[in-house]
């Protein structure tokens, strides 16, 4: 009889101990945000273009974490989809049209710009400088190529142009024959 009591007391003590331990751990090692969302957000290209239907990259990351499909990111293209698929442990949705997107930046034709500031308000990353009734221009290095400034322009003076390859950004593809201008 006393054995049983001792065993019971022992287990009760252990249960209490572990309970306290778990309680302490729950407080001490508490994770505030959903870490999956952070990881997904880090994989997304942060163009903030809204082409996925969400107002920015983080909302889409949250949506994926809640079960949305992973192939909505247009600027990220196939590489991003693959990485998200790896992270989420899902299959890459079969789709023919997704491929690596060409990186583009906005370009303002300055002779047409009337200085309406509409593109400045549309730019999610503040990559357009200018003031009212002054010519605007795009900071090329900060432009994410999201297209959001193109539609608001009343004079259609914003064009998306491909980022030219420079010797620094060249990918060592020796198969491509460089185009040479003959004068």
């Amino acid at each position: 009889m006393s054995h049983i009591l001792i065993v019971l007391a022992l287990f009760a003590l252990l249960a209490l101990l572990f309970g306290l331990l778990l309680g302490y751990a729950a407080v001490r090692f508490r994770v505030d945000a959903d870490p999956v969302v952070e990881k997904l957000d880090a994989l997304l290209p942060q163009t903030q273009c809204g082409q996925c239907g969400y107002p920015g990259c983080r909302p889409y990351a949250e949506a994926i974490a809640n079960g949305d499909v992973i192939n909505k990111c247009v600027p990220g293209g196939e590489p991003t989809i693959k990485r998200i698929a790896d992270l989420m442990g899902v299959d890459v949705p079969s789709s023919d049209e997704i491929e690596r997107p060409i990186k583009r930046v906005a370009f303002i034709h300055e002779d047409l710009c009337i200085g309406c500031t509409k593109c400045i308000q549309a730019c999610p990353v503040d990559a357009i400088v200018g003031a009212a009734k002054m010519m605007h221009t795009v900071i090329k290095s900060e432009c994410t190529g999201c297209d959001l400034c193109v539609d608001p322009c009343p004079t259609d003076c914003i064009e998306m142009i491909d980022v030219p390859t420079t010797p620094d950004s060249w990918n060592w593809d020796l198969e491509t024959i460089p185009v040479r201008m003959i004068k």
């Binding site: 957000d41 997304l44 290209p45 942060q46 163009t47 903030q48 920015g56 990259c57 999610p124 990353v125 503040d126 990559a127 290095s141 900060e142 994410t144 390859t165 420079t166 010797p167 950004s169 060249w170 990918n171 060592w172 593809d173 020796l174 460089p178 040479r180 201008m181």
Partner: protein
């Protein structure tokens, strides 16, 4: 092993070795045995803005400007920007993109100079006593001279010297020149040993190292001899190292000379070592002592197809094509021109490419001499590449991962440490262009890194914008709140201390309460609003009536109309305040219409029953009208109107009930009229005002009760009569009024009865009420 001990060992003449390495055929003698010549000034010079690692500086000349030899063409704004200078005097013909010396064959912005052949120098400030300048001033002078590492990487020399100042223990002058075919450093050391020694002194003055080592491979005995002749052999020593490719690579040479490896991802300065190419040292000397910026360099021109191989001083910007012609190229079909050596160089896309600061060799090999790479075969995992790798990497693994695009794995296997020396590809029995794979992978990794950085920046900027917009919104709201607060305070002051909004709210509330009260207790009506509402309702009703009147069955409608009309026609009412009376009348009419309408719609189904209700209606309508005659004209009229309205309602209800249970409805009529009359005498002696109200209330109540009673059982009419006598004793005034009302009614009824009797005298339903207006079809 501390560096002091290393230096001790170096003193004792010890040399180390590095892993791997290869021994390709040297082919140096073709070019190294011909004295250095001066290449002439070409007809056009094309100067890329960027000829080094870093970014291009700002152009400070315009097309059409005349520039002198050595004149700066760009102005650097940071340390990683290196200026370029005019290699000879001439006119700037244009500033436009031109193919640059790069394997991609891409174009970059270049300054095009049309030389005038005079080679007229700008004013020069030679500085023979450079020791009088501080090291930093000398570094500035080197920066202005546009000197970048001439060994091949093109790292800005002044940056190297500035960061290495006072941290350097060992300065290594790299004259190893390990790559086959190239002999430009060999030739320079042979012919300009004295100046190189002076350059070493300049660098020593800046860096103050404990030891200077000049490393030369043992296949250049003449260069070794020339250098040994000009150095003291104590602080500055010539070290002869065994020939092995790639001993001239910075990290490998450091390992050979000091036995220590530069940690992965770090610079050699972490070991206290700085390395400069002999050509760079010579350029430093020229810049400091002679004020000659970097406008020319030694270029090896070699290969079987050159009729006159050798080394030449070539002005930067000279076209390769022009140079090939100068050195009598005898081209074969599809002649390849390789810039750099056979191991690390690249085939030029075409010959219209300028010589830049890092171009050390031009090679025009024949097919036999340097066969094009064989067909790529599968990796057989022989492991020779791993044996040859001077960095001790695993080229096989890197190959697999690069090919498969497994970037993480490639990085895990230290692809970044690959120096692209080409030893692995050289030994590969399957002719796999391994370095090409690594370069592609490195470019991809660099791109991904850049993208990640840009994404991070975009994220930060996006967050910042969101935060800013939120702050602006809050600010705006705050401002609006403050403005409204200020306005309110101002109004309060104007209104004499009380809060005007609160006051207004209170007024509204009071009004609402009043309205509610008047709605529930018809005895105390709010005169103004109710009258207006009533008038409005009446007008509406009339309009409706006009619309519907013709449509509905006239038999049912007309009697009701006549029943309601007496109230309006009542002469007694006309004696009251004309305005209010008119309104009351209008209200009454409206009510009547409503009732009629209802009755009319019901009537088609049971016309006879609807007809039976009419007498009741007429009595109710007449009673109040006559009452008001003796009362306070205003209030009385209203009370009358209210009472009538109630009556109508009751009737209406009764009528609708009647449809369901016609017999019961018929029975209620006597009861109703009885209630009306019983009230009348009781209230006769009362205060006219109160009496009228009380009477109205009582009647309304009675109606209500009747209504209910009628629906359930007709016998309840008896109960209705009991409250009436009670009220009689209450107030004498009321009784008087009631009496007056009763009298008025009686008179009216008589009057009407007489009228109708005369006109038609037809069928009349005769209930208890003495004067029922008959259903006059002719009306």
């Amino acid at each position: 092993m501390t560096l002091s001990r290393v230096i001790d060992k170096i003193w004792s003449g010890k040399l180390w070795d590095f892993h791997g390495g290869i021994h390709p055929e040297e082919h140096k003698l073709e070019s190294s045995e011909v004295p250095l010549v001066e290449a002439a000034i070409p007809p056009l010079l094309v100067l890329p803005l960027k000829q080094h690692i870093g970014s291009s500086a700002e152009v400070i000349v315009q097309p059409g400007d005349r520039v002198l030899t050595g004149q700066p063409l760009t102005r650097p704004e940071s340390r990683m920007q290196v200026p370029i200078h005019a290699p000879t005097s001439g006119i700037i013909s244009s500033i436009e993109p031109h193919t640059v010396a790069h394997p991609s064959g891409l174009s970059e912005l270049c300054i095009h100079i049309q030389p005038d052949g005079l080679d007229e120098w700008r004013e020069r400030f030679p500085l023979p006593d450079y020791q009088s300048l501080t090291p930093l001033e000398l570094v500035g002078r080197i920066h202005e001279a546009g000197i970048a590492g001439l060994g091949g990487a093109g790292f800005p020399t002044d940056v190297k010297l500035a960061t290495g100042r006072e941290k350097v223990e060992i300065l290594i002058i790299n004259g190893a020149e390990c790559e086959p075919y190239i002999s430009c450093d060999d030739r320079l050391m042979r012919e300009e040993a004295q100046r190189i020694a002076e350059g070493i002194e300049v660098v020593r003055h800046i860096l103050k190292p404990r030891l200077v080592l000049i490393a030369i491979e043992d296949n250049k005995p003449q260069a070794i001899a020339a250098m040994q002749a000009v150095v003291d052999g104590e602080q500055v020593q010539v070290r002869v190292i065994p020939t092995k490719y790639p001993s001239g690579a910075a990290r490998q040479l450091i390992e050979v000379l000091t036995g220590r490896q530069v940690p992965s991802g770090k610079r050699s300065l972490t070991l206290g070592v700085i390395m400069l190419n002999v050509g760079t040292v010579f350029a430093v000397r020229q810049a400091v002592l002679d004020d000659e910026p970097l406008i020319r360099r030694v270029v090896t021109l070699t290969g079987d197809r050159f009729g006159k191989p050798g080394n030449a001083w070539v002005r930067l910007g000279t076209s390769v094509r022009w140079l090939l012609g100068q050195f009598q190229l005898n081209p074969e079909p599809r002649q390849r021109i390789i810039m750099g050596g056979p191991m690390m160089g690249f085939t030029l896309p075409h010959a219209d490419v300028p010589i830049v600061k890092i171009s050390n060799c031009l090679m025009a090999p024949s097919e036999v001499e340097l066969p094009p790479p064989g067909e790529e075969m599968n990796c057989i995992r022989c492991g020779q590449c791993a044996d040859a790798c001077p960095v001790s990497l695993l080229p096989q693994q890197l190959y697999w991962y690069s090919k498969a695009g497994e970037h993480d794995k490639a990085q895990e296997y230290h692809i970044d440490d690959c120096i692209e020396c080409g030893a692995c590809a050289w030994v590969c029995p399957s002719s796999i262009p391994l370095v090409q794979y690594y370069r592609e992978e490195k470019a991809e990794l660099r791109r991904l890194e850049e993208e990640a950085q840009q994404a991070e920046r975009a994220k930060q900027r996006f967050e910042a914008k969101k935060q800013r917009l939120e702050a602006e919104r809050l600010n705006r709201e705050n401002r609006h709140q403050q403005a409204s607060q200020a306005r309110r305070e101002q109004m309060t002051q104007q209104a004499g201390g009380s809060d005007p909004i609160a006051a207004a709210l209170a007024r509204v509330k009071a009004r609402q309460a009043e309205l509610a009260a008047s709605a529930t207790t018809p005895g105390i009506p709010n005169l103004g609003s109710e009258a207006i509402q009533a008038a409005r309702a009446a007008r509406k009703q009339q309009a409706l009536q006009r619309q519907q009147g013709s449509a509905t069955q006239p038999a049912a409608v007309t009697p009701v109309l006549t029943a309601a009309n007496p109230a309006q026609d009542n002469p007694a009412q006309t004696s009251t305040d004309p305005k209010t009376a008119a309104i009351a009348a209008a209200v009454a009419r409206a009510k009547a219409r409503k009732a009629e309408q209802q009755a009319a719609s019901d009537a088609p189904v049971t016309p006879s029953e609807a007809a039976t209700t009419q007498p009741a209606i007429s009595t109710a309508a007449e009673a109040p009208a006559s009452e008001t005659a003796e009362l306070d004209p205003k209030k009385a009229a209203i009370a009358a109107a209210v009472a009538r309205a109630k009556a109508r309602k009751a009737e209406q209800q009764a009528a609708s009930d009647a449809l369901v249970a016609p017999s019961e409805a018929a029975a209620t009529q006597p009861a109703m009229s009885a209630a009306d009359e019983s009230l009348a005498p009781e209230t006769a002696e009362l205060d006219p005002k109160k009496a009228a109200i009380a009477a109205a209330v009582a009647r309304a109540k009675a109606r209500k009760a009747e209504q209910q009673a009628a629906a359930t059982q007709p016998t309840m009419s008896a109960a209705d009569e009991s409250p009436a006598p009670e009220t009689a004793e209450l107030d004498p005034k009321k009784a008087a009024i009631a009496a007056a009302v009763a009298r008025a009614k009686a008179r009216k009824a008589e009057q009407l009865a007489a009228q109708h009797a005369a006109s038609s005298g037809s069928s009349t339903s005769a209930p208890a009420d003495p004067t029922p207006p008959s259903s006059t079809e002719s009306h």
